[in-house]
């Protein structure tokens, strides 16, 4: 079973719809006992970083999820805000600590080119920069849907894909069993669904 973590902010139905479309069983849950049964976890995301961490804490999810991810090595995929929450922290609406499962900090997108608008919204080319099962049978570059005002600055060693908006930004990471994409695979048509399928079947 795929556990989709409900922390009150994510676009959960979209993720559930995509997982089911790919023929997998999934449950949306905020209950640690239910999520403990999951073979794989997805941390979706639409929202603000501080609210995301607060909601995870209020639901008593941080400690059990950390055990599942760090000790039991359950594969997890963070999407958009969920991807950013994997990091050490963010400057969105003040300084907030993240889950700290991967190195890096989330910072505001500040393009050098004044004609580039923020949020970064739309279909952007994605360049595969590392060897990661998420992008098996996905064209390089691929087009994925992004919608974000903040981006992750992290270790190049865990960066497996970038998108360029003025300057290159980290758009996907893998660190062992921890996977993440800044773009929305569940909103990126066929190639996005392929990324999800790779996570579900190969991670």
């Amino acid at each position: 079973m795929i556990g989709i973590i409900d922390y009150g902010l994510g676009n959960l139905r979209s993720v559930l719809g995509a997982v089911e479309k790919l023929g997998h069983q999934a449950a949306i849950s905020a209950d640690p006992a239910t999520l403990a049964l999951a073979d794989k976890l997805i941390l979706p995301g639409v929202g603000a970083f501080g609210d995301g961490m607060r909601n995870l804490a209020e639901r008593g999810l941080i400690e059990p999820l950390s055990k599942q991810v760090r000790e039991s090595k359950i594969p997890i995929l963070g999407i958009c805000l969920g991807f950013q929450l994997l990091s050490q922290g963010s400057e969105e609406f003040g300084a907030h600590a993240g889950l700290g499962w991967i190195p890096g900090q989330v910072r505001k997108i500040r393009p050098d080119d004044a004609t580039l608008r923020v949020p970064h919204v739309g279909w952007n080319d994605f360049d595969i920069t590392g060897d990661c099962i998420l992008f098996d049978d996905v064209p390089d570059p691929a087009l994925f849907y992004f919608v974000h005002s903040y981006h992750l600055e992290t270790d190049p060693d865990i960066t497996v894909g970038t998108c360029t908006y003025g300057t290159p930004m980290c758009a996907a990471i893998q660190s062992g069993n921890v996977f993440g994409t800044q773009f929305h695979p569940e909103k990126s048509q066929r190639h996005g669904l392929k990324v999800l399928q790779n996570f579900l079947e190969r991670a």
Binding site: A48, R117, V121, G122, P141, V147, H184, K187
Partner: protein
Amino acid sequence: MMLRKRIITVLTLNDGTLFRTKLFKPDYRYTLNFVDAWSVDEIAILDVSRGDNPDRDRFLSAVGEFAQTCFVPISVGGGIRTLADVPRYMKAGADKVIINTGALENPALISDIANAYGAQCVVLSIDAAKRDGGYEAMSHFGTRATGRDPAAWAREAQDLGAGEILITAIERDGALQGYDLDLCRQVADAISIPVQVLGGCGNWQHMTAAFDVPGVSAACTQNIYHFTEQSIASAKKYLSAKGVPVRV
């Protein structure tokens, strides 16, 4: 490589049923089978039901059903007045919400939603009516004057935390004579967040003209002729040949 220009399909639902509108009135009924969920870049769904107490559950259940079959971003609006309204829209499958009258009545609604869901979640829609020497933002389906200049209102909304602006020229709705480019330009020049334009698209040249306006990142259309796979594909082929970066 770069960020592509978007073509957004706007679906207007009246009492849970899909209608095309003309001059902001439901005009032509059709079904979701006409919506090509694969070629389009993004979908906006608006509840245009009038009356004192529209059946929002019916609208949101239609949104929910559609969202299950569609793997592109969806923004949903119509009837959002407070932050407490937003979770239902998100639960139905919205990735972003579109607000208009609610924000005009209470501009703090913009920051409330942005603080809770992030700026990228808030699309402020502005319905603009032409006035002597300018434009005026209208509320309540374009029926009530607000005294606000659309460009100044867009600027204020940006400062309050809106992530995108959807600007609609009321007089162009269903007219197929092209977007109101002066209006697009005034609004886009006033802000630094992405701009979506709606109202008047009748052919692919109208789209290239809109994308020539700096800051316009999405051309929206709700005309039924744009909904077949062939149409969106041919629009993108045309745009691509004209040098507009689109997702083909």
